[in-house]
C-alpha cells in the first residue's frame, strides 16, 4: 500500500523529458507562418481564374436576355462569397487568442466558434447551393432559346439531375456527417466546461 507521498517519490524518479528544444519551436513557428501565407495565396489564386472567366463572359458575349447577366452576377457573387468566407475563417483562426483566458472561458469560446462553423457548414452551405443553382438556371435560360430541342432537354435534365443528386443525396449525407461530428465535439466541450466550473 502506497500513500500519496510515495507517489510523489515515484514521480520525481521519472526520466521522461521532451525531445524538442527551443530552436525547433522557432523553426516550426517560421514554417507555420509560411504555410498560412501559402494558404491565403491559394485561396486568392483560386478566386482569380473564376473571376476572370466571369468578366470575360460578361464582356465577350453579347447576351440577348437580362437573365444571363443576372445569372452570371449571381454565380460570380457565390464564388466571391465562398472564397471570402474561407479567408475570413483562416484569419479568425490565426488571430483568435483565447489561450490566455481561464480554461472555462477558452472552452466557451471554442464552443461558440464550433457552433458558428456548424451553421456555416450546414445552413449556409444549403443556401449557397440553392443560390448557385438559381444563378446557373438564369444563365441557361438564353441557351434554351438558341439550342435545338434535344440538346436543350438534355441540358435541362442533366442540370436538374445534378442538382437533385447534390441537394437531396450528397448534401444530406454531408450535413448528417457534419452534425454528428459537431454534436460529439460539443458534448465533449460541455463536459470539460462542467469540469472547470468553480465548484468543489
Amino acid at each position: 500500500m502506497k500513500d500519496f507521498d510515495s507517489l510523489i517519490g515515484i514521480w520525481n524518479e521519472q526520466k521522461t523529458a521532451p525531445v524538442i528544444d527551443h530552436r525547433e519551436v522557432i523553426t516550426h513557428y517560421k514554417d507555420s507562418r509560411e504555410k498560412l501565407s501559402l494558404k491565403f495565396m491559394k485561396e486568392i489564386l483560386l478566386m482569380i481564374p473564376a473571376l476572370i472567366m466571369m468578366i470575360y463572359l460578361w464582356f465577350a458575349i453579347s447576351f440577348n436576355f437580362w437573365t444571363s447577366y443576372l445569372g452570371l452576377a449571381i454565380v460570380a457573387g457565390c464564388c466571391i462569397y465562398f472564397i471570402v468566407i474561407q479567408i475570413i475563417n483562416i484569419k479568425n483562426v490565426a488571430s483568435s487568442n483565447t489561450l490566455f483566458d481561464k480554461p472555462q472561458d477558452h472552452i466557451q469560446f471554442i464552443q461558440k466558434f464550433r457552433k458558428s462553423r456548424q451553421i456555416q457548414h450546414t445552413r449556409n452551405y444549403k443556401i449557397y447551393t440553392l443560390v448557385l443553382g438559381f444563378g446557373l438556371s438564369l444563365y441557361f435560360i438564353e441557351f434554351f432559346y438558341q439550342l435545338n430541342l434535344v440538346l436543350m432537354i438534355s441540358m435541362v435534365v442533366a442540370t436538374l439531375a445534378w442538382f437533385i443528386v447534390c441537394y437531396f443525396y450528397l448534401m444530406k449525407i454531408y450535413v448528417r456527417k457534419e452534425e454528428k461530428r459537431f454534436n460529439e465535439m460539443l458534448e465533449d466541450l460541455e463536459r470539460l466546461n462542467e469540469q472547470f466550473k468553480d465548484e468543489a
Partner: protein
C-alpha cells in the same frame, strides 16, 4: 543568438520539463505530449513581448498549455490511451532497481490517464510542486475549492495506483 532568442531559451529551459509532464499526463502519449509542448511554446514565442514584464511567467505558460491540451483533445478527438507509448524505460541494460522505478512511473502515468481531464491537469501540477495559488490561477478555480478538489484527486489516484499494484 538574438536577445529574444536568448530570453526564449531561458524560458524554455526553465519550464519545458514541467509542461511536458502536464501534456504527457493529459494525453498519455509521448508524441502527442511533444506536439502539445511545441504548440504551447510556439504561442510563448509569438507573445514573448507581452511576457517580458510578467513576474509569474510560468503561470501564463501553464495557462496556455492547459488550454492547448483541452483544444487538442477536442479537435483531434484523441483520448488518453490505456496503453502508454512513452520511452519511459530508456535503457534495457539499466539496473533492475532503476527499471523497477521506471515501471512504477509508467504505472503512475497509466493511473493518471484514468482520471478526468481537469483532474489530470491539476494532479500533474501538484506532483510537480506548483504552488496552490498558481494552480488556482491557471485553472480558474478558487483556492478554497481547489484544495477540496486536490484532496479528492489525491485520494482517487492513490486508490487507483494501489488497485493496479494489487493486480
Amino acid at each position: 543568438m538574438s536577445n529574444k532568442e536568448q530570453l526564449f531559451k531561458e524560458i524554455f529551459d526553465a519550464n519545458s520539463k514541467k509542461i511536458y509532464h502536464l501534456c504527457f499526463g493529459y494525453t498519455g502519449d509521448d508524441d502527442a505530449a511533444n506536439d502539445l509542448l511545441q504548440e504551447t511554446f510556439l504561442k510563448v514565442w509569438q507573445n514573448l513581448e507581452k511576457f517580458r514584464n510578467q513576474s509569474m511567467i510560468s503561470t501564463w505558460i501553464y495557462r496556455i498549455a492547459v488550454n492547448t491540451c483541452l483544444t487538442y483533445l477536442k479537435s483531434e478527438k484523441r483520448q488518453a490511451k490505456d496503453e502508454l507509448t512513452p520511452n519511459i524505460i530508456e535503457n534495457r541494460e539499466e539496473e533492475t532497481g532503476e527499471r523497477e522505478k521506471q515501471e512504477q512511473v509508467k504505472t503512475l502515468y497509466q493511473c493518471i490517464s484514468k482520471l478526468e481531464e481537469n483532474e489530470r491537469i491539476i494532479i500533474t501540477m501538484v506532483m510537480d510542486e506548483v504552488p496552490y495559488p498558481e494552480i488556482a490561477e491557471v485553472s480558474g478555480i478558487s483556492e478554497g475549492n481547489l484544495r477540496v478538489k486536490i484532496h479528492r484527486i489525491k485520494h482517487k489516484l492513490t486508490e487507483l495506483y494501489n488497485e493496479h499494484e494489487r493486480l
